[in-house]
Symmetry: C2
Subunit: 86 residues, 2 copies
Amino acid sequence: MGFMSFFLGEKKQTASVAKERLQLILAHERSGRNAGTPDYLPQLKAELIAVISKYVKVDPSAVLVEREQQDNLEVLAVKIELPDAR
Amino acid sequence: MGFMSFFLGEKKQTASVAKERLQLILAHERSGRNAGTPDYLPQLKAELIAVISKYVKVDPSAVLVEREQQDNLEVLAVKIELPDAR
């Protein structure tokens, strides 16, 4: 299943009100050799949100961050509900 | 299905060689009111890759970009294969 069908499925569940949303997903798959490298995802996430804020008005209270880790895979999901353009 | 199970499923398909990978997915769901706002995703994508390059060495030839659009949903996927840490 590709990304589009994944997000379309998600969209149907949250389709209550037609809001503008931006989702940023970071998936980091480590190989054994780099297992010891420092975890830069949290810092990277903060910088990526800062870049996004240059393009759209981001209300910090409308930013939802989810983080999951399993085996050598770490997934960071940032969901941003955007204000209606006036 | 959550993001983790989605990426774990993807991982199984590409599990040939244990490489370090970073995937950045941007999903932009427009509401009707903002349909006319300019498309900033391509420019945003370039800046996000630039930020990622501050954290990990990104070989431009190892960056795969996929873009899909359906209804008011646009998904941009950036797959980066990272060099082994020496």
